[in-house]
Amino acid sequence: MANIIGGVATSHVPAIGKAIADKKQNDPYWKPFFSGFDFVHQWLQREKPDIAVFFYNDHGLNFFLDKMPTFAVGAADAYHNDDEGWGLPVARSFAGDAKFSWHLIETLVADEFDVTMCQDMLVDHAVAVPMQLMWPDAKEWPVRIVPVSVNTVQHPLPSAARCFKFGRSIGRAIESYPGNQRVLVVGTGGLSHQLDGERAGFINPEFDRLCMDKIAGDPEALTGYSSEELVELAGTQGVEFLNWIAMRGALTGHVTEAFRNYHIPISNTAAATMVFDHQPQPQRKAA
């Protein structure tokens, strides 16, 4: 069966994509964020995933507010990025794994997560930027991806508890897929930030630290927050932390924090990167 090798969580601010395009990784403003990826690169080189499942939110590239799915799963063999209107260069396309995606979808629906299934799905900076951060020098992307979009834009949002269970279902689906694929789960966005309103620029390091401290060993401490509480504590866009919670849910076994980097500010955002090691639960022996 396929193996979950671990998780990566990272901010996905569009300005990071711009900094990559402009080769600003070593500028004093950017270095504290980008240097946090040295560990990630070594870890990925060692762990060598074949497939990466991305929990992210679409920012109005693939979905508009006319039809907004709570959870949507890509089921294609290729995914493309495109012009998002704010000047980011279009990223090169990503390979998918439709067969693997359909297995996730089958399991999710059997688990009563009635997802939107997407055979065409543009992926925005929330997938492209983390890919560029994780594999900056790759001539070809070393993984096939499954984009899993979580609605963190249009309230009512799925609750943190629901996102955790949704991730859990995907984790079980991965571990029941025939083969020996090495699967990475990725949660993108966050941490605290708010772009809109008189409270624009709101950042909450205390809450961010609590999230980072609890997510590996005690995620249930974070799943009791309502969406409105998350808005209050993390900001209107800090609710992207739901993507991290779904990623954590997909890590079904024993989870330990391997690395974290936290830096304020990147643009309007408290930027964070974390890596999680994952030991699967021992399989019960057949009687």
Partner: protein, 114 residues
């Protein structure tokens, strides 16, 4: 819908989404360079084509982000409109908080020293 009051913050719920549909739909169209150019060429005609309300048209004409939010704009979509004017989310933050862009950036840097 009633929400817990968070100062300086609007929850983008169904009420906001209904109010803002025309404005957000126009902003969504700015994913296309051709549409951005059409807006630049004739802003009035472009806004009329998307059926903006009088209040939405005014907020866009004034480039006033808080007013755009009040008439249902969602910031992820408004950011695409702002891109046409060469403004990024830090420029938007400065405008909404009544600070200079430099002051707004400093406020964020200061948050990192907490």
């Amino acid at each position: 819908m009633e929400h817990h009051d968070i100062p300086g913050t609007t929850i983008f719920d169904g009420d906001q989404a209904r109010k803002g549909l025309a404005l957000n739909r126009m902003c969504f169209s700015f994913n296309s360079a051709e549409n951005r150019e059409a807006f630049r060429r004739d802003e009035d005609a472009y806004c009329a084509k998307y059926g903006l309300t009088k209040e939405q048209r005014e907020a866009v004409r004034e480039r006033n982000v808080l007013k755009m939010l009040a008439v249902g704009g969602n910031v992820y979509y408004l950011a695409k409109l702002a891109g046409i004017f060469g403004l990024n989310v830090q420029d938007l933050g400065a405008q909404q908080t009544g600070m200079s862009v430099e002051e707004f950036k400093q406020k964020l840097v200061a948050a990192g020293r907490q």
